[in-house]
């Protein structure tokens, strides 16, 4: 269980660092498949796991001058309403629907990743 959690964390973080996708797309299915969390708990817990990863990533990017601080603060502040609505929606949906939507989201990320890679 602990080993599984650490593996999910290291893998998700490595993918985030390598490909620039968020860790969440790894954390959520990892928590469902390896830690036995249900979809609602996984979605909520993944958010907590993302915070330290994003803090470290931001420090590193900031050193290269890649962080527009004013825009970042603005985006963060403007996200409050959306985040509240998203959480309410997630908790209103049955677990199986949330899981299917998440699977669709994963396919969307996969398609975007392939398209961006082919373009570059």
């Amino acid at each position: 269980m602990i080993v599984g959690a650490i593996l999910v964390g290291v893998l998700g973080g490595a993918i985030a660092g390598l490909l620039g996708v968020g860790g969440g797309v790894v954390f959520v299915p990892g928590m469902v498949l390896f830690l036995g969390l249900d979809q609602h708990h996984a979605v909520a817990t993944s958010l907590l796991a993302i915070i330290p990863v994003a803090i470290l990533g931001t420090f590193r990017q900031d050193r290269y001058g890649n962080v527009e601080r004013r825009d970042a603060v603005r985006l963060g502040a403007l996200s409050v309403g959306g985040a509240a609505a998203g959480v309410a929606l997630a908790n209103a949906l049955p677990g199986s629907t949330l899981r299917d939507l998440f699977a669709a989201f994963m396919v969307f990320v996969a398609v975007r990743l392939v398209r961006d890679t082919r373009r570059s």
Binding site: I2, A5, I6, G9, V10, L11, G12, G13, A14, A16, G17, L18, L19, G20, G22, G23, G24, F27, P29, L33, L37, H40, H41, A42, V43, A44, T45, S46, L47, L48, I50, I51, V53, A54, L56, R60, Q61, D62, V67, A72, V73, L75, G76, L78, S79, G82, A83, A85, G86, V87, A88, R99, D100, L101, F102, A103, M106, V109, R112, L113
Partner: protein, 110 residues
């Protein structure tokens, strides 16, 4: 607009919202790819914190599991950015896309 959309995705799926933010910053605000990634990461700190706090009010956050995944995640990011300079990321992107689709199928069939 971008912030609200990113928040919605983040709250609904438990992700950071970068998947939505990075392309929109590039398309709508004429950002380059690297500053878009860096700025989106900084915004994710706030977005994930808000969304996690609201989820905690619903009692859905497993704090121990979250820390057990998130703290090793920091080591993973260091390893990932280090590797990025040394391995062809094209191959990894295709492999990961394949893993994503396979995992999506596994989730739905489970």
């Amino acid at each position: 607009m971008i912030g609200t959309l990113a928040g919605l995705f983040s709250g609904l799926f438990g992700v950071g919202g970068g998947t939505v933010m990075v392309p929109l910053l590039v398309l709508w605000l004429a950002y380059d790819e690297r500053p878009a990634t860096g700025t989106s990461l900084a915004a994710i700190i706030a977005i994930a914190s808000f969304a996690a706090a609201i989820q905690a009010l619903y009692g859905n956050v497993k704090v121990v599991d979250g820390l057990l995944v998130g703290i090793p995640g920091m080591a993973g990011v260091m390893a990932g950015t280090w590797l990025q300079q040394r391995v062809p990321s094209h191959a990894i992107a295709y492999l990961f896309a394949l893993v994503l689709v396979a995992t999506a199928v596994e989730l739905v069939l489970q």
